[in-house]
């Protein structure tokens, strides 16, 4: 099913027979204290388009640098991701992508219309206050 949408959006994704391990990249994501979106975007391209190994320290360090961020060895440590996974599971998250908003869990990007609606209402409330 994912292949259909990748083709339709001209995204040259490579689907591997067996999913690769992404632990080190996820450790970085959990440890970053700045906006992680550039790193996330770069990591997805690296895995899905360039076929890179997100559990290779050299690759992950390069991704951090490519994202314009400062790399340090602490970013590869796993304590933060362990906590993050525990919290997510306690909230009822069991798959990705998952969105947690207003104590509701939404699994899958198909929920975007509802998520947009919630965010729009929040923004409206904020602008009224």
């Amino acid at each position: 099913m994912h292949e259909i949408y990748a083709d339709l959006s001209d995204t040259p994704m490579h689907f591997r027979p067996k999913p690769g391990n992404s632990d080190l990249a996820l450790n970085v994501l959990a440890n970053l204290s700045v906006d992680p979106t550039t790193f996330v975007s770069r990591a997805y391209d690296a895995y899905w388009i360039e076929g890179k190994d997100l559990n290779d320290a050299v690759v992950v360090e390069q991704l951090v640098t490519d994202a314009g961020l400062h790399f340090s060895a602490e970013l590869l440590q796993s304590k933060a991701i362990d906590t993050s996974i525990e919290q997510a599971q306690a909230q009822g998250v069991f798959e990705v992508p998952a969105f947690v908003i207003e104590e509701q869990v939404f699994i899958g990007r198909e929920h975007m219309p509802w998520l947009r609606e919630i965010v729009a209402k929040k923004n409206q409330t904020l602008s009224l206050n």
Partner: protein, 238 residues
């Protein structure tokens, strides 16, 4: 009644096939949007039953008075089942309906054979039949394993149910069972599933893509999404 020629080819040249199961909450949520798309495009789809074998992929469990009394589900299967109900419930409530989790895994084959009966005898009444079955079943008010109950739903939809009892035990069951035997080997295993332009799309999130296919593939293809109804389709059933 003719047996289906193929799980992937519409019987009478309809532009899409839609597979549903009465016992699927996700099919329940998909119904109104699919019928709305039929009206929007001025077409009728080829609706067919897919009687899910839920224990084979989600384990099985029985509840009594709200408590689980029997279960062979793993923790992750339970997470999936609980989430599926919560998710379907919040969307169906936006449509003005109620969804209560079932207390057992129902055999929905008779009610699904009812789909074959209605399609055969009064296709225009299909939405009325599904309206007579889905909402009360999901309010836990309908025993869909009882032939007389299903026949009453057919009648309530304005369709003659004379002969349904024999049909569901005879040719209707044969057609249903033969179709079920062909689905998995053709990669059709869940509901709702749409077949359009030979493409199999499982899940109501693909409805935007179905529309795109059926309107000449104009512009960029849409991504998956659960489209929101701005108003409830019905007043809440309270």
């Amino acid at each position: 009644m003719q047996h289906y020629e193929s799980p992937l080819i519409a019987t009478a040249g309809q532009p899409a096939i839609v597979y549903i199961d009465i016992k699927s909450p996700y099919a329940f949520v998909a119904l109104k949007p699919i019928f709305a798309l039929e009206r929007e495009l001025g077409v009728q789809f080829d609706w067919r039953p897919l009687t899910l074998d839920i224990p084979s992929y989600l384990g099985s469990a029985k509840k009594k008075a709200g408590k689980v009394v029997e279960s062979n589900r793993s923790a992750s299967q339970w997470s999936g089942v609980k989430y599926a109900y919560r998710d379907a419930r919040r969307y169906i409530e936006r449509q003005g309906y109620i969804l209560k989790g079932t207390e057992k895994i129902w055999d929905s084959s008779i009610a699904n054979i009812g789909i074959l009966w209605v399609v055969e005898h009064a296709r225009d009444k299909l939405e009325a039949y599904l309206e007579a079955v889905y909402p009360p079943f999901w309010r836990r008010e309908l025993d869909i394993e009882d032939v007389a109950v299903v026949a009453a739903c057919i009648t309530a939809a304005g369709v003659d149910a004379d002969g349904f009892e024999a049909f569901q035990a005879g040719i209707g069951k044969a057609v249903h069972d033969q179709l079920q035997g062909q689905l998995h080997s053709n990669n059709i295993y869940g509901v709702p599933t749409y077949v359009v332009d030979g493409q199999i799309l499982f899940g109501r999130e693909h409805l935007p893509l179905v529309r795109w296919h059926l309107t000449g593939k104009q512009g960029d293809a849409p991504d998956i999404c659960y489209e929101l109804n701005s108003e409830p389709y019905l007043k809440p059933n309270t």
